[in-house]
Symmetry: C2
DNA sequence: CGGAATCCGGGTGGATACTG
DNA sequence: CAGTATCCACCCGGATTCCG
């Protein structure tokens, strides 16, 4: 069963140092840190636009509620990725920026952003098919990731 | 802590082509594709180990149930990232591999893997503090997104 | 071995109203 | 402006059971 299968064998990716305590691999560790619907987007916007105020961040990350934004920001802050600065003024002024750790993580997101931009046509078409109701995928689609599919 | 400004202005990241139809940016599009607790891990394992059988993949992605693994694989297949091959044998033999599109996405995950590996110490410490019940984070941890990535 | 179907609890996350 | 508090629908995802 070595040479007779129709699947072309791709060249393997660089190793992931799979022997880590508590985590499957480095990717696993990263995924747990950015686990949360809005965290990658938050990190990336903060990286792009520098320390920005709460309201501006909320406008940038569209479709996010106050509750979720605050919640995820608090977690990111507790994880040492985001730094909050309260200027203690009236009216209130608070801004959020990245720590060095957070900036490193944000930079690691760049290839994902590039991939999405380069393959935007494919992705758009895929989501259009999802919306149209695929015959071959009755429940897997609706139960999958259809929640945030409202077009903005 | 170095003697830096409280809010150091980071060097801006490369642009994200923020004017895309339906998506906030390229990163947003990518995130919707890999939305799902196990999808990035699945993609990465498939990229590393080539076309592998179902059982082997399940062993690689630990802590995943059959239901979730199958579900996410189906979505990845429907999205044109994963290719399933059924050899129609008894006992059944099926393997999963990446399409060119999936391969590209998996390669975009490499920096995240690298970041996790390089910062494994920080991440491990953070999660240890979470488990210990942090005094400074009474409710944000328990009510927050501490566990999963909401595939959304 | 490789799946499919069903039940089901709990967490996620949205909406709304309110505060300083 | 920058949050906070509360309610609750909904979906994720685990366990179990059955099929080809």
């Amino acid at each position: 069963m070595s040479s007779d299968h129709p699947n072309p064998v791709p060249s393997p990716l660089p190793s992931c140092t799979p022997t880590l305590p508590g985590f499957t691999c480095g990717l696993d560790a990263t995924l747990r840190v950015i686990a949360g619907k809005w965290k990658p987007l938050i990190l990336y916007f903060l990286a792009q636009r520098g320390p920005i105020r709460y309201g501006e961040l909320r406008r940038a990350v569209r479709d996010v509620s106050d509750k979720m934004l605050i919640q995820q920001l608090k977690e990111l802050e507790a994880d040492g990725l985001v730094k909050r600065t309260d200027y203690r003024e009236v009216p209130p002024r608070v801004d959020y920026g990245l720590t060095p750790l957070g900036r490193g993580l944000a930079e690691a997101l760049v290839p994902l952003c590039v991939w999405g931009t380069e393959n935007i046509a494919e992705v758009t078409r895929l989501f259009a098919e999802r919306e149209a109701g695929d015959d071959k995928l009755p429940a897997a689609r609706t139960a999958g990731t259809g929640k945030e599919a409202s077009p903005g």
